[in-house]
C-alpha cells in the first residue's frame, strides 16, 4: 500500500489468500474503534485532513517538483562532469598539436636532405669544372708537345729532302742524264705506238 512492507502481506497469502491482509487490517481497526482503545477525537480528524492534503499534494505537485529537482541534480552533475570533460578535450587538442609539431619536425629532415643534395650537386659541379680545367690545361701542354714534334719532323723531313735532292743532283753525271733522257723518249715512242 506504499508504507506497509510486502513481506507482511505475503505472510497471509498461504493461509487466507489475497484478501487476507486487508480483512485483517480492517477488522483490527474496527476492533480498536469499537472497544474504544483508539478514540476518534480531534487528532483523528486532524490526521484525516492532513492525509487527504498530503495525498492530493503529492499527486498534483509531485511530478513537476520531481522533474525540477532532477534537473537541478543533473545540472550539478554536469558541472562536475564539465571540468573533467574540459580537461580531456584540452589534453586531446594538446596531443593533436604535439603530433602536428612532430610532423613539422619530420618535414625539417626533408629540408635537410634537400639541402644536402643541393650542396652535393654544387660540389659535383665544381669538381667537374675543375676536372675540365685540368683536362684542358693538360691537353694544351700535350698539344704543344705534339706540335713541336710535328714541326721538328717537318723541318727535318724538309731538310732531309733538300739534302737528298741536292746530293742526288750533285751526283747526277752528264752521261747518266743523257741516258735517262734517251730512255724516256723511247718509252714515249712505244706508248704512242700502242695508243
Amino acid at each position: 500500500m506504499g508504507f506497509i512492507p510486502e513481506e507482511w502481506f505475503e505472510l497471509f497469502y498461504k493461509k487466507t489468500g489475497v484478501t487476507g491482509p486487508y480483512m485483517f487490517g480492517v477488522s483490527f481497526l474496527t476492533y480498536l474503534c469499537s472497544k474504544e482503545i483508539y478514540i476518534m477525537e480531534h487528532e483523528y480528524y486532524n490526521g484525516l485532513s492532513l492525509a487527504i492534503l498530503c495525498i492530493v499534494g503529492v499527486k498534483k505537485l509531485g511530478p513537476s517538483v520531481a522533474a525540477w529537482l532532477d534537473k537541478e541534480v543533473d545540472d550539478y552533475e554536469k558541472a562536475w562532469e564539465q571540468g573533467r570533460v574540459q580537461q580531456l578535450e584540452d589534453l586531446k587538442s594538446a596531443i593533436e598539436a604535439e603530433k602536428k609539431e612532430q610532423w613539422r619536425a619530420e618535414g625539417q629532415s626533408l629540408l635537410f636532405e634537400a639541402k644536402k643534395e643541393n650542396i652535393a650537386l654544387q660540389l659535383e659541379a665544381a669538381y667537374r669544372e675543375r676536372l675540365m680545367n685540368a683536362y684542358a690545361e693538360i691537353k694544351k701542354r700535350l698539344d704543344y708537345q705534339v706540335e713541336t714534334q710535328n714541326i721538328d719532323r717537318r723541318i727535318s723531313q724538309k731538310h732531309m729532302v733538300n739534302w737528298i735532292v741536292s746530293n742526288v743532283l750533285k751526283s747526277i753525271t752528264p752521261q747518266q742524264e743523257k741516258d735517262s733522257l734517251k730512255k724516256c723518249i723511247a718509252d714515249l715512242k712505244a706508248l704512242s705506238a700502242t695508243a
Partner: protein, 224 residues
C-alpha cells in the same frame, strides 16, 4: 506539566511525571538528508537550495557586519523553528513551539547575548541607536524612551509572536476536530474540508513564522 493554558489540548507523554513531550523537538534531526555522496539527491537539493537562498537573504540583511559563517546561526534557527512548527501539524506530535517556555528559551538568550555584547563593547554605538536618524531635536527625549522600551520587549515579542501563532492555529484545529464525533456524515465532510483549508493556512504560517523569527534575529544582531 501545565506550561500553558492550552496544554490540555496537547498530547502528553510522561514517565513518572518527567515530561517526555519535549523529545519531539529532536524529531527535526531525523528529517535531515544524508550528504555522503558528491552528487546530491533530490531531498538534499531542496535543503541546499533553501539554505543557499536564506544565506543570501541574511547576508544582505546583515550588510556591513557580515562575517563568514554568521548566517549559519540564523539559517539553523529558521530550520529548527520551521521543523518544530510543521511537525506539530501532524497528529500525535507535540508542538514544542506553541509553548512560551520553549520560544522564550530560544529568543531570550539570543537577545541577552546581543545586548551584553553590544552594550559592553560598543556602548557609544548602542546609545546612538536609541535615537533614529532624522528625528527633530524636540522629540529626542521621547524617542530615547520609546526605543529603549522597544528594545527591552524584543525577546518577549519574538517569543510571544511565535507561540501565539502556533497556539491559535492548533487551538482552532483541535476545537474543530473535537466537534467531529457528534456530527452526521455530511457535516463531517464539511468539517474535513474546513480543516484542510486550515491546514494549508497553518503550513504557510509555520514557515512564515519561522522566517520572521530568523529575520528579526538577524536584524537585531546587525544593529549591535
Amino acid at each position: 506539566m501545565m506550561s500553558n493554558l492550552f496544554s490540555v489540548f496537547d498530547p502528553s507523554t510522561s514517565i513518572f511525571s518527567l515530561s517526555l513531550n519535549w523529545l519531539s523537538s529532536t524529531l527535526g534531526l531525523f528529517l535531515f538528508p544524508f550528504s555522503y555522496w558528491l552528487i546530491p539527491s533530490r531531498y538534499l537539493v531542496v535543503f541546499n537550495s533553501i539554505g543557499g537562498t536564506l544565506h543570501k537573504e541574511f547576508k544582505v540583511l546583515l550588510g556591513g557586519s557580515f562575517k563568514p559563517g554568521l548566517t549559519l546561526l540564523f539559517v539553523s534557527l529558521f530550520l529548527y523553528v520551521v521543523f518544530n512548527n510543521f511537525l506539530g501539524l501532524f497528529p500525535y506530535i507535540f508542538t514544542s513551539t506553541s509553548h512560551l517556555s520553549f520560544t522564550l528559551s530560544l529568543s531570550l538568550p539570543l537577545w541577552l547575548a546581543l545586548m551584553f555584547y553590544g552594550w559592553l563593547n560598543n556602548t557609544q554605538h548602542m546609545f546612538a541607536h536609541l535615537v533614529p536618524q532624522g528625528t527633530p531635536g524636540v522629540l529626542m527625549p521621547f524617542m530615547v524612551c520609546i526605543e529603549t522600551v522597544s528594545n527591552l520587549i524584543r525577546p518577549g515579542t519574538l517569543a510571544v509572536r511565535l507561540c501565539a501563532n502556533m497556539i491559535a492555529g492548533h487551538l482552532l484545529m483541535t476545537l474543530m476536530g473535537n466537534t467531529g464525533s457528534g456530527l452526521s456524515t455530511i457535516m463531517v465532510s464539511f468539517l474535513i474540508l474546513g480543516q484542510i483549508c486550515l491546514l494549508i493556512l497553518e503550513s504557510a504560517v509555520s514557515i512564515i513564522q519561522g522566517y520572521v523569527f530568523a529575520v528579526l534575529s538577524t536584524l537585531y544582531s546587525s544593529e549591535v
